[in-house]
Amino acid sequence: MINWTLYKRGIRGSWKMLLIFAAVLTMYFTIIISMFDPALGSALNEFAKAMPELMSVVGMNPASAELVSFLEAYLYGFIMLIFPMIFCILSTNKLIVRHIDRGSMTYLLAAPVRRETVAFTQMKVMATGLFALVFYATVLGIINCEISFPGKLDIGRFILLNIGVLCLQFFIAGICFICACIFNDSKYALGVGAGIPALGFIIQMMANAGKELEKAKYATFFTLFDSDGIIAKESGAIFGMIALFIGALILFSAAIAIFSKKDLHI
């Protein structure tokens, strides 16, 4: 079901992009964690009090003095949503859309390799990249906290939060991937594949901002990722995580089935 030659090539083609994303995350994590001040409330909390609307748009609500909820509020409401999401979109483009659009898919299919194997391998490359990115963020967060504030971080809940983000990002990857498999035209493949998660994200931001729009959050799948609930270990939030993961599996299976049955004008 997996072609290791193709997998290795995919990984080799992704690591530069991964490195850039890792660098961006390193910068944000380091800066934001340094702003944490357990005694006085962080500088960011001052911002949040001064400009509550603006800060809540990007998911940064005043956090409690606990380090894990501080990280959840300032890193997992915006940065850890948007950057892995961009990674998903770029990866799908590189692994599927461009091959179909340019025609280099020809060589992948003019070989005794099943289409299911090609799609599954590319999916696996993307999942590996995504996992590496979130794993890196987890380690980065833990190390940063342990250096600056030893013993202050509830590592168990922080890891759970990262597993939650991973489920959400797999789901987003599933959307990008299925669009890449449905549409032959790269315009639609990328437009719809990137558009659905982006739109969902914007709705989520609007719902965060305004009380009238608060109900709008139920219109997107982002609502299944309840970061506050996850660190509080609420069963509803855990269920949301599992739902996202199962949703991702369904999207990926459907994408592979569609790719295997579709007409390719290559």
């Binding site: 025609g103 280099s104 020809t106 003019a110 070989a111 005794p112 390719l264 004008h265 290559i266």
Partner: protein, 295 residues
């Protein structure tokens, strides 16, 4: 039953484009020429054979296996040169060939090296920096290196110079002698004439003609443009009872079919300055053969 069978293949793209109820079969050890103007449906047919497209009606088989359902199985013993060479742009030629060998899970053999030498190709530069001819050579090596039983070649010599074209023809003849079954689409009469035993021409998605090359050659009407010393001589020359298609100033265009001696004897009596045979496209030749240009 032939190695490669197409039965009632139909794919309608609308507006008269596509392939309609196309049937033919290719025998073991045969080089089969597949010709037609642009947009006639050659590539569409080939995409069905490759399992990229599912037939709307009809079916294609290679070696008795269904080209859509058993495509991965068929590919084990198939070599393909696409009409347009698109590779992975960040690889060098060497990396690409070794990637394809591993990707296909074929054992590397001496054949790749032999092919590279035959086509004088040094594949060490980046694919995206290669000229069209070099890319074409990489494509040829990739199609033949695993020594497949069946070859599907979509305009395989485009971009190659004369010398490499004839090397390619030699390679095809060798493969034919080894019993390989080859489908080749082409625009070059010489290539088809030298390699193919049978030829099919497709027009507007339907089979316009299917015959062996010898019959085609025998019926081929050749054009000669003869330049005479002056217009007066040209006018007299045109009235000698030869099949004249055009007279302009001191040039006479004559169509000759199997009576070259007659032309020579007439020319002997006239002040001929020059004689040229303009290149005729395959389609032109075919259309002459099948009567009328408006068919």
């Amino acid at each position: 039953m032939g190695v490669c069978e197409i039965q009632g293949l139909t794919r309608d793209y609308g507006k008269g484009r596509g392939v309609f109820d196309l049937s033919f079969s290719i025998n073991q050890g045969e080089v089969f020429g597949f010709l037609g103007p642009n947009g006639a449906g050659k590539t569409t047919t080939i995409r069905h054979l490759m399992g990229f497209l599912k037939p709307q009606k009809g079916r294609c088989t290679i070696g008795g296996k269904d080209c859509w359902k058993d495509r991965a199985e068929i590919q084990k013993n198939l070599g393909y040169i696409p009409g347009e060479m698109v590779f992975f742009d960040d690889m060098t030629g060497t990396q690409f060939l070794s990637f394809m060998t591993k990707y296909r899970k074929t054992k590397s053999n001496g054949r790749t090296k032999e092919l590279l030498e035959r086509f004088e190709l040094d594949p060490q530069s980046k694919l995206k920096k290669m000229s069209k001819g070099m890319k074409q050579k990489v494509g040829i090596v990739a199609a033949f290196m695993h020594d497949p039983e069946v070859l599907i070649l979509d305009e395989p010599t485009s971009g190659l110079d004369q010398l490499m074209q004839s090397r390619f023809i030699e390679l095809l003849l060798e493969e034919k002698a080894r019993g390989k079954t080859i489908l080749m689409s082409s625009h070059m009469f010489e290539e088809v004439e030298r390699t193919c035993s049978r030829v099919a021409i497709i027009r507007q998605g339907t089979l316009a003609a299917l015959d062996n090359v010898d019959a085609l050659k025998a019926a081929q009407a050749k054009k000669y443009v003869i330049t005479l010393e002056n217009e007066e001589a040209a006018a007299r020359f045109a009235n000698e009872g030869l099949r004249v298609s055009d007279v302009s100033q001191n040039q006479v265009t004559v169509i000759v079919q199997n009576n070259i001696k007659e032309l020579i004897s007439v020319m002997d009596r006239y002040p001929v300055i020059n004689i040229i045979t303009p290149n005729q496209s395959l389609e032109e030749i075919f259309m002459q053969y099948y009567g009328g240009e408006n068919q």
